[in-house]
Amino acid sequence: MPTEILMPALSPTMEEGTLAKWLVKEGDTVSSGDILAEIETDKATMEFEAVDEGVIGKILVSEGTEGVKVNALIAVLLEEGESADDIGDTAADAAPAEAPAKVPAEAKAPDAAETGPGLVQTKAPEPDWPEGTELKSQTVREALRDAMAEEMRRDPNVYLMGEEVAEYQGAYKVSQGLLDEFGDKRVIDTPITEHGFAGIAVGAAFGGLRPIVEFMTFNFAMQAIDHIINSAAKTLYMSGGQMGAPMVFRGPNGAAARVGAQHSQDYAAWYSMIPGLKVAMPYSASDAKGLLKSAIRDPNPVVFLENEILYGRSFDVPVLDDFTVPFGKARIWREGTDVTIVSFGIGMQYALQAAEKLAEDGIEAEVIDLRTLRPIDYDTLLTSVMKTNRCVTVEEGFPVGSIGNHLSATIMERAFDYLDAPVINCAGKDVPMPYAANLEKLALVTTDEVIEAVRKVTYR
């Protein structure tokens, strides 16, 4: 029987990729280990090796095809004695998955034009840029890179250090191209010694530089947390205002996909507890860019929590010379009157999806993205809750001592009389992240849980 060659999954988060190049053609004999094709994921171009031996009977996806889904049939391998005629109809029919011309639904700010018939949609929320500004679609990854590049051009004392940030172009390719532009004095590969290089960066900040420290992921920043908190966050206070640590600690935070308990943790609540630190956790590309630029200029230490799953998502980003987003200003993604859903970072995807589904049933949710967790824009949240009288919080982190817990307490203290229902916190489950696919899904917060929480607080 002919062997099917399927589009391989080449990274934890890969769902589709580009078949960049075939290195074999129909009729070629291949043996295991031979390179068949080059495949581009969102992060890298990978070589794809043959596992079985045989003759390439048919190539079903031509090179250059984008958006080929993982496990789509891309070629058929014939064993000795088989001919291309043996390839069944099924194989021929299993045409390449078409490149979906998609912007994920959750990646778009709802605007009036998109609201379906019968939906009561109040006016579109204000964006962070003047009306008529030119927009371009960018991934979060590109937006972060641009933010660093712009700030490095602006201030020669801004430099980037971390594991694999230079020659490898970043473990998640966020620092792509920076070594080329700024050289190895300013884009520095470190050994795997988080505690050491975080400390060195704090010292460099004391000494007048503006370090950006990339952690390959924030899970590894636990090695360095002493310097982030004891050295960076407290020095301004302890020195009576004489000196501090103007610097950024950044990198992906939270769960990626199937990487298990030690690599899937959301530190939003941990760092937000620390006076002296600022904390940002953007969702969209424009916020990632504008907030990172503000963070780099900030005279305080900033913990900047990114997300691996969001890196590849595209959003509109304004084309402006110097686009910044201030800390402490929430963004209203969607206006509504029935309930306030407040979230940040990747939690926003569940919040926005839930709001869309709820709208189909006539429940209008106001969706707020806090964007920064220190400082928090309480005013925007409280104003909204006073209007809707109900609130659901959404985050990916653990439920005990969560950001949602803190928001609930604040709402209770400052808007108790406006509440028509208890605030519900939707969060990750109170368990270490399991590896198994079915359990991982259960451990994370889901859109359905948000919808259910909204139904509870609206009694609908």
Binding site: A9, A44, T190, P191, I192, R258, V259, L442
Partner: protein, 342 residues
């Protein structure tokens, strides 16, 4: 394969040699299969293959005795197979199924076996080093003569906690063998670009820890060095460092395009230094095995690996209740007052 300059006459029996061959081949075929299942989406997340490094763990396991312990990083599949854990259970953990060693909750990087004294499978670079010293601390405390193998990479060798562990192990004469699996790269960073010395094992000297460099592509050399290190630790003389020069043929993990080294560099290692080929030659040239014998071994190993893949595909996903189990252990002996109250 080109002949090695340092080809040694084997100082082990033909049976032992054959066993090393089988053990190394099992790891290689198992890892190739794991790579294949990853491509099919049956294994998720990170998956770090051990292909190329087989002689390190097989040589050292041959030097280990009953009850000795081992702990390593995320690149752990080879260590588990070499210490006698079941291929089925390891593969099923890779696919996140009930039949896996951690019932699907750990994954590729986090597996454990109390029965085989395998203490993980650790995802945080360097963390296993003080943990290994701690296992040795417990053995010394309990008064037995067990030895612990703490495996870590050339990249991990730059973590501060490694040197904290060196100091305490030397100070307290802990029976731990620090095994630096120097495959010359930490992800995309070569040793040259990250490490202030060419000879990492020499970093033990200031702490008073003896050590040596070993050819990790020669299972016999590894076994010999392992014997020496084990004897040192068992005799109560404290820790020992083995820096074992090896090479990984694949990328750091499945998603690493490995553009930081040339294809020729990899090809040269495979062709000239491959540890499995080396033993294969010794078996044939020494008249210990015919081509047919070796074919039979190949088939035997292939069958084991295929069976493990079938098992790993057929084993069901863990029950949903498993999400909530194993977070806390529950046997807590209470004081008398508590019992009276109850």
């Amino acid at each position: 394969m080109a002949t090695r300059k340092t080809a040694k006459a084997p100082n082990v029996s033909a049976d032992e040699l054959k066993q090393y061959y089988k053990d190394m081949l099992l790891i290689r075929r198992f890892e190739e299969k794991a790579g294949q299942l990853y491509g099919m989406g049956l294994i998720g997340g990170f998956c770090h293959l051990y292909i190329g490094q087989e002689a390190v763990v097989v040589g050292l396991e041959a030097a280990a005795g009953e009850g000795d312990k081992r702990v390593t990083s995320y690149r752990d599949h080879g260590h588990m197979l070499a210490c006698g854990m079941e291929p089925n259970g390891v593969m099923a953990e890779l696919t996140g199924r009930e039949g896996g060693y951690s019932r699907g909750k750990g994954g590729s990087m986090h597996m454990f076996s109390k029965e085989k004294n395998f203490y993980g499978g650790h995802g945080i670079v360097g963390a296993q080093v003080p943990i290994g010293a701690g296992l040795a601390f417990a053995d010394r405390y309990l008064g037995n003569d067990r030895v612990t193998f703490a495996y870590f990479g050339d990249g991990a060798a730059n973590q501060g906690q490694v040197y904290e562990a060196f100091n305490m192990s030397a100070l307290w004469k802990l029976p731990v063998i620090f095994v630096i699996e120097n495959n010359q790269y930490a992800m995309g960073t070569s040793q040259k670009r990250s490490t202030s010395t060419d000879e990492i094992y020499t970093r033990g000297a200031p702490f008073g820890i003896p050590g040596e460099m070993v050819d990790g592509m020669d299972v016999l050399a590894v076994k010999e060095a392992g014997d020496k290190a084990v004897a040192h630790c068992r005799a109560g003389k404290g820790p020992y460092i083995l820096e074992i020069k090896t090479y990984r043929y694949r990328g750091h993990s499945m998603s690493d395009p490995a553009k930081y080294r040339t294809r020729e560099e990899v090809q040269k290692m495979r062709e000239e230094k491959d540890a499995i080929e080396h033993v294969r030659e010794l078996l044939v040239s020494g008249g210990h095995a015919s081509e047919d014998d070796l074919k039979a071994i190949d088939k035997e190993i292939k069958d084991i690996v295929n069976k493990s893949a079938d098992f790993a595909k057929e084993s069901p996903e863990p029950a949903l209740e498993e999400l909530w189990t194993d977070i806390y252990a529950s046997d807590i002996p209470q004081g008398a007052a508590v019992e009276q109250d109850a």
